[in-house]
């Protein structure tokens, strides 16, 4: 049977995650559930989308991904199934799918099964679990949903290519205080064409002119830039800063949304 992944902003102190799992196991005792994260900042669909972008493709095709962030159904946020790259995603679509995928999904469906309850405050428990179990059993979306045209488009900060430079952004700060950007290795290669470069950021004292293979390639306390396992540029500190893990966010005073500028140099002019 396919795996169910589950991401939410429910936290792990309250029993809400367990309630959803209990409902899944009641319908499908043999289900296998993997928690992506339940510590998404409350209502933050961008953060949930970021985590899923990074992780979903590690699971095998056929995996069902249940998204419990802002999951209330409304005209602007219809309950939907999106099929993308052989994976199923279930969410209230206020634009989250467009933040996970690079293009329109292969298929989109408006869910039309009724709630299990007249309580509308916990739609993951009372409606979406049933959808997830149907898909896990190998059921087709058509039985419980009606084909829709397209997912809702959310606007997203995107890196901008401007001649010989890329203007990207810090999109996430992880537990190690590493700065994760939206600059992909393919974009870096395409614009850079193997030229020398400088990575600038707001707090200019710490320029970076080299991409490393891993965090320990630089001495402890030195800045390090590398492409992480999701293929995007990440900036950290070798060996981490004392008491704060990777420490780049703290040392550089950078935060989510801040500009990261990569300037590639004229070959002759260096």
């Amino acid at each position: 049977m396919a795996i169910l992944t589950f991401i939410s902003d429910f936290g792990t102190a309250d029993p809400y995650v367990a309630m959803v799992k209990g409902a899944v196991y009641s319908q499908l005792p043999e289900a296998k559930i993997v928690d992506i994260s339940h510590e998404v900042s409350p209502f933050n669909v961008t953060e949930a989308a970021f985590h899923l972008r990074q992780s979903y493709s590690i699971f095998t095709r056929g995996t069902v991904h249940l998204i419990g962030v802002n999951a209330d159904h409304s005209d602007d946020t219809p309950h939907r199934i999106a099929v993308y790259d052989g994976h199923y995603f279930i969410a209230a679509d206020g634009g989250i799918f467009s933040l996970i995928f690079d293009k329109q999904p292969d298929a989109v469906y408006d869910i039309n099964v009724p709630y299990d309850s007249d309580i509308l405050t916990f739609p993951v428990l009372h409606r979406l679990v049933k959808v997830a179990c149907h898909l896990l059993r190998g059921g087709t979306p058509e039985v419980i949903a009606r084909q829709a045209e397209a997912v809702t488009e959310a606007t997203r900060l995107r890196p901008i290519i401007d001649g010989d430079s890329i203007r990207g952004h810090v999109v996430y700060v992880d537990r190690f205080d590493n700065l994760v950007t939206d600059i992909s290795s393919s974009m870096f290669r395409e614009v850079g064409k193997s030229r020398a470069f400088t990575i600038h950021h707001r707090t200019a004292r710490h320029k970076i002119e080299k991409i490393s293979g891993h965090y320990n390639e630089v001495p402890n306390g030195e800045k390090v830039a590398l492409f992480n396992s999701a293929g995007v540029l990440e900036i950290g500190i070798g060996g981490g800063a004392p008491e704060s893990g990777g420490g780049a966010a703290q040392l550089f005073g950078l935060k989510k949304g801040d500009l990261i500028l990569v300037v590639f140099h004229d070959r002759s002019n260096r």
Copy 2:
């Protein structure tokens, strides 16, 4: 095989939860364990009971619920199995069962199996795991425990009905800073008889006169009252407060134990 749920105040940083799971799997490799929460405030049986009240019935009958909060055995807190609504609960009974159930359980047993170890500081690991595995295997309580008369009664704050009003309490503040009360929808209907009402609390600026169907029914930043998936009155903020999720606790300055007063109005007098 039945599911084992596990709730404790062990936290998730220390390996204590893993040790209990390892002991279960050593005896029952095919066991399925669902964590309810391990972030119960240290020694807080009321909080553990609250989480289980809300969540246990989502699991199928036959589920075994292991409670690792204040689990030391003593004359005042005997290790017991309670059978309620087809579910098994295992705990040191200083009154926690009476906080989970609405009435005496169907059966109560004093556990009489020996500890696995002469170390008495980790009774969940060294005694209660064995009890849980016995029940998961389909064993009867009589083999490992002696029938007892009743569970220990703990005093609990209860909502008071006073003519046309209900005096309830904030019993929990969840991750979204929603205020969960002890006022049930049935009590509300019974006393209210569909009359208009006002919900008052200590910080009087924010009266509520309407029950909503879900959090997004009110504009962002507006107060919202609704009956949650456990069927009790909950007060939140539509769309949440910035940086703090639901934000009701923070905005209203309310905390656990605070009074929530519902006054139903004379029909003619409005």
Copy 3:
């Protein structure tokens, strides 16, 4: 199939733990994974070793323990498998194995399988998962690794026996604010020979002259010393301190690394 335990400093907010699990399940859908902890302080191999020392032997022999702390491979930290007490441990060996085991392991192997990816920043995902799955399938280390001579020796603070006293240390403060020391019950018995004793620490107001059987043996608020389920001396507060669980660390002002001195008294001289 054997169990896989997983300990890391990845935290649970980011999707890194889920990515590792997804990779395991992709290779071995029927795998069973138990999280030891993912809240190890960043890069703190001593803490990870401490957690595994305490917990590994609860699992059955054949269990594979995957360690995701400082997991980058280098000449000083080679990727290794250590076989100890019938268990498999996988880590980058900068000395962590020597902190888990009391003696050289039964066998040590240098891992020689290639990475799954040319990204070197997430070796647990791109190399060690493959090793773990191989062992879980019942494969032998020789197929994927070359026998090595010995694990790297890390220096560790050890308790010192000095005539009639033991100079130990606080090695961990748990969620209950209990002070866990490195003084084992066997060392205590051997040096103490059933004599009276006094346990001293830096903040001298709170001397302890008795070992209790469990935390509730003393009145609430009283200091309590006992041997915990790992067989080492632990100092706590009966019933815990208000708002802070066990509270010993807070009340005594002690922290990791602090000296704990046990002085056994001359039999005649008391």
